[in-house]
Symmetry: C2
Subunit: 427 residues, 2 copies
């Protein structure tokens, strides 16, 4: 396997540090718009393993499909791994296809809200642009594995596992994410510093959240597409009790890939995603919306053109750099309700907790980016070893969950040493 | 009198429309960085009076002291009237002095917080840079009349009036400002649109508010400067009941010029300024501070350099343009407590209310900018007619309040037809 990873931000950097401990690939090209950043990632990752020579740095403009394809061909990439923000999904996706490489990402092509009823009807949904090219990918024989980070990603693997091994009937697949992270500045005062890209947080939290219901799909003759609808941002707050000491966090609906992926491969009555934003972040997001600072179209400011959302992201600390100032844990998981294999009511929370102290100590990566980065590396290993295989456009729930969960949890050096958990929450 | 007005934003535009109805000046030059904006103001103002030829438009860079002086000389300006935001106070102030013209502004030179104890000790205060040049102004024979908008401005005139005509001893001079303004978008939904420059709102509301106490000054041997101290932003919330149907509004300490001006000319135990920000604006300001979007130093955003605070101001509607979407009234006033001329306890609120419906109908100007703009025009008329005169650097409270208040309130065409009020609030 020869991997071209595009993006040496927080997640790309952590993925390289994780991957370098594994033997499944022959080459791992780290490409970034900023070559010095790519080189820094290569240096930091290679330093983790004596005599490491498989990593090389390259420069690429991720918005340029032809440049992506050319770079993939130049390095004989068998897999293009997209680790930049979702604005660049389509050129990388098309570039990989053009180069005859397989493709993996951790966030899907962006949505567009319904022009008349943005908070009721779905319009262009997350991943729609990618799914529309399913025929081309099948014809090429290549695989596009969409949404294989932690959420989407591990949450989708949990959905497959629940359907295959725990439940006979699923009422709701409800991804629930919460944390007790805190970031302190040099003076020890708690400060606001998001764990991942503020651009993406604004995008997913202010967009109308999407929900899927089988009853709506059935009413349209079983058309999966007809099951999607939207709600206002921050809808249906719910206090969810997270494990391993994190405790109760208020969660609200957020637009997220799981809702788009799970109904296509897993049978359920309802699919939702709720994120434990917390009061401070909700206030910040509402204020940005009120002021129009969530806008992505450029405004003219004293003679220069800038996108207000880019300015918001630019004034905040780089999520890749906040690890040393951060304490706490983050939990990604899937709450599944329905009937167990025995037909009795069942509610189970499948989850994965990442502790910042541990990820900083072992990888020099903050816990949110580390937790995102480990999953695509596990998936690449399963593809490299042939445990997972296929062609076309697929979500993580299209594959057998068991080898993934085993490889993730198994102690090093066999596995990745990152256990997941399961809590019975049957009332 | 020949006036050079610098700035054709909301306040400058309204001032020209107000002034053109008066006969006290021979020339009124409207200068702006954007010549087309200056021309639009001249056209709109001149159209209000048949055969009007006294207004001309000019281009100027307000940050360029020499350019200001040259323009003042070119037009033989006797008075330079600064109607731009307070970042440009010093070059305009110095340019006027260099040109031998008198000077008026509505906001004073900016403060700098104390490096060690920003929320306890005053450091470089509002107007300090200007007051430091008092000797030069006295020597020149010219007058610099600082802070002659509505607040500071009319509030300071009220202080002089209270001291001369209502009180024998003043406990507190407390400026209190509140409004019931609402702005609706094209769909009729209430929207956030500040009544004056968001740059200035951020500056004055997030800076440590300053308070003056005579006891502190006395403890330092009667040194006025020693009476100033600071508090954290949004300190000491107080619900103040505003007149003419506005009603109760929560007010908090805000850094404002009155606190710096009044103690220098009016005898009082304590001088404060509280502004009825309201919950939404306080949340917005706290969020901007949390994110660092209040910063004025440039950040690098995808290859361009911008000041985050300029971006915040740029995404919001121009305060000059929101009049047609606005409803409600704004109230500027001074709450005075102490002992009346008879020695008995007295509490009086002196105030001026501006109704958006009225200012839009009569001047095409929204009420907050109109209320700011009318006062310097009244002052210019008093200076033109010799009713007010003097040299050196002075605040509005250095002059007799009665002719000002009479001219402001007298019906047109004798006066400006804008009455002020007085409410007894003795407990």
């Amino acid at each position: 396997m020869r991997v071209l990873m595009i993006g040496a931000g927080g997640v790309g950097d952590a993925a390289a540090r994780i991957a370098v401990e594994r033997g499944f690939f022959e080459a791992w090209v780290v490409a970034d718009y900023d070559l010095s950043r790519a080189r820094a990632t290569v240096a930091a990752a290679a330093a983790r393993r004596a005599g490491e020579t498989r990593l090389v740095a390259a420069q690429v403009d991720a918005s340029d499909e032809a440049a992506v394809a050319a770079l993939a061909k130049e390095h004989g990439a068998t897999h293009v791994f997209n680790a930049v923000d979702p604005r660049f999904v389509m050129p990388i996706y098309r570039g990989a296809l053009a180069a005859g490489a397989s493709y993996l990402d951790m966030a899907m092509s962006l949505s567009q809200r319904h022009p008349e009823a943005p908070y009721e009807k779905a319009h262009v949904k997350l991943g729609d642009e990618q799914l529309a090219m399913a025929g081309e990918w099948e014809a090429s024989g290549g695989l596009a594995l969409l949404g294989i980070g932690v959420e989407p990603g591990l949450s989708d693997v949990f959905a497959r596992y629940a359907a295959d091994h725990l439940f006979s009937h699923i009422e709701e697949l409800g991804t629930r994410d919460g944390a007790n992270l805190a970031v302190r500045d040099a003076d020890g005062n708690e400060t606001f510093a998001p764990g991942f890209s503020m651009w993406t947080i604004i995008e997913e939290c202010l967009n109308p959240p999407v929900v899927w219901e089988k009853a709506r799909a059935d009413a349209a003759g079983g058309d999966v597409e007809a099951g999607f609808f939207t709600l206002p941002a921050f809808s249906e707050p719910e206090v969810f009790d997270f494990p391993e000491g994190i405790g109760p966090v208020e969660c609200v609906h957020v637009e997220h890939e799981e809702v788009l992926l799970m109904p296509r491969w897993v049978d359920a009555e309802r699919v939702t995603f709720k994120y434990g934003l917390g009061e401070e972040l909700i206030t910040i997001l509402k204020t940005l919306r009120t002021l129009g600072l969530d806008r992505t179209d450029p405004v003219s400011v004293k003679g220069v053109q800038v996108s207000p959302r880019d300015v918001v992201a630019a004034v905040l600390p780089d999520p890749a750099t906040i690890g040393p100032m951060m304490t706490g844990k983050t939990c990604a998981g899937l709450m599944v309700t329905g009937k167990g294999k025995d037909g009795a009511p069942r509610a189970t929370y499948l989850y994965h907790v990442s502790d910042n102290e541990e990820t900083m100590r072992e990888y020099g990566a903050q816990c949110v980016v580390w937790q995102t980065a480990v999953n695509p590396v596990v998936a690449l290993e399963l593809l490299a070893t042939g445990v997972w295989s296929g062609a076309g456009v697929k979500g993580p729930e299209a594959f057998d969950a068991v080898p993934f969960l085993e490889l993730l949890a198994a102690p090093k050096p066999e596995g990745y040493g990152s256990p997941w958990g399961m809590e019975d929450r049957t009332p």
